[in-house]
């Protein structure tokens, strides 16, 4: 439908005489905004708003104004009640905001704590990664150590990085030693054995030794051994050798 067709119906729409379908069409058209119809509609509404002036006066009771004012005053308590409801609503909103704020603070605190923990874990992970970085080196060697009298059933494994003289040693089935003795691990290089530390076993004769630093040089290490030594260890091996093996 063209705009001028709507325009023709504007006076009828202003008076409210259009049928339901036409009325809905016009409402839909006006809802979309029409620069032609809207000012026209306003003018026709202003025109029809003058019609009541044509009517003869009916006797308006003088007391009607006071009656009306009384009705307005009676409405006041309703307003108060609605004000109370408004206050309750405002209080509810404030309470919700406070609870929400508290929840946000708690969540924020937990998040900060989680962040701190995450930072610690990340740091630990970095340190651990650094710790095992030497394992990724292609020069890493593996040595299998076999048990000797009096520990024929004992076994050992050494993972060794000759470049940085670092390694991990695993032992199992080692017999227990008396309280004044301890096991001592040796890295044997071109210049002889160098202590890689003293260790103690668990109830199953197992032990894990991390070798991060050895005293002296282990250059050209090819063999590894475990001896039973006096408690606390000795600079050079003196006791019985219970495990020994070469790098593969």
């Amino acid at each position: 439908m063209l705009k001028h067709e709507f325009l023709e119906s504007i006076p009828l729409y202003a008076l409210g005489v259009l049928d339901t379908a036409e009325n809905l069409r016009m409402q839909e058209h006006l809802k979309q905004g029409c620069d032609i119809c809207e000012p026209e509609l306003r003018l026709f509404r202003e025109t029809e708003a003058r019609l009541p002036y044509a009517l003869p006066d009916s006797p308006l009771p003088a007391e009607l104004k006071e009656k009306l004012w009384d009705r307005i005053q009676r409405e006041a308590p309703k307003r108060s009640r609605s004000m109370n409801w408004s206050l309750i609503s405002i209080a509810a909103v404030i309470a919700t905001l406070l609870i929400g704020g508290w929840w946000l603070l708690q969540t924020n605190r937990l998040l900060r704590q989680s962040d701190r923990e995450l930072a610690v874990f990340r740091q630990q992970l970095m340190e651990q990664e650094k710790e095992i970085e030497w394992l990724r080196d292609p020069s890493v060697q593996l040595a299998l150590l076999t048990g000797l009298d009096p520990a024929q059933h004992a076994k050992g494994k050494m993972v060794w990085n000759p470049q940085v003289s670092r390694g991990m040693f695993y032992a199992n089935s080692l017999p227990p030693v008396s309280g004044d003795k301890s096991y001592q691990l040796w890295v044997i290089g071109k210049q002889g054995p160098v202590s890689a530390g003293v260790f103690y076993t668990d109830s199953k004769g197992a032990a894990v030794v991390t070798i991060s630093r050895i005293e002296g040089t282990a250059e050209g290490a090819l063999q590894f051994a475990v001896t039973i030594e006096p408690h606390g260890g000795v600079p050079q091996p003196t006791g019985s050798m219970v495990l020994a093996g070469k790098a593969l």
């Binding site: 023709e8 008076l15 049928d19 009541p52 002036y53 003869p56 009916s58 009656k67 307005i72």
Partner: protein, 184 residues
């Protein structure tokens, strides 16, 4: 004080603004209520409801859409017609409009004693044809649709539509002082 200033006062809950607004419009609104409802007691009740609505909804008045007067008269007409329709079937509404009622708008001879505005509007209405005045009354005061008016007057719908349109166009021209179009 202008109508807009009075509405602002009512929004601020000023009794004086409300009194002035009531004094300015109560009589004309009451005339409209009586005309639509044909019952003075009921018209008094509806009049109070209209002004109560003004008191409550003054804040919703949008000056960009209509003047205060148009807004007020729209409320008054709508409330009165709703009340009237609630107690009348369409058939009884059609029967209500006796031939005598079409003479309710005072003629030229009744201008004496009327306010300037009343004289002005009545003069304009008197320049419409009788047929045009009848369709305006049936639509504006009685709230009949174009089909109902056609049925009431036993005339084609198209004729009624054209007549209503022509009547309002003529009034609009008269109110705007465009005598040329008014005579068209």
């Amino acid at each position: 004080m202008t109508d807009s200033e009075l509405i602002s006062g009512i929004i601020k809950r000023e009794r004086r603004a409300f009194d002035l607004f009531y004094e300015r419009y109560a009589q004309i609104i009451f005339n409209l209520c009586v005309r639509i409802l044909r019952d003075e007691a009921e018209a008094q009740d509806v009049l109070q409801e209209i002004f109560l609505q003004v008191w409550r909804d003054a804040g919703r008045f949008d000056p960009s859409r209509a003047s205060v007067k148009t807004w007020l008269f729209t409320i008054a007409r709508s409330r009165s017609l709703d009340r009237y329709r609630s107690r009348k079937t369409v058939t009884s509404r059609l029967e209500d409009q006796s031939e005598d009622q079409f003479q309710q708008i005072p003629g030229k001879e009744d201008l004496q004693g009327a306010s300037v505005m009343q004289q002005y509007v009545r003069s304009a209405l008197n320049r419409l044809s009788r047929e045009q005045r009848i369709v305006l009354e049936l639509s504006y005061y009685d709230g009949l649709t174009q089909e109902e008016i056609a049925a009431r007057l036993k005339e084609p719908l198209g004729t009624i539509k054209s007549r209503i349109r022509a009547a309002l166009m003529k009034l609009r021209s008269l109110f705007s002082g465009d005598e040329t179009n008014a005579e068209a």
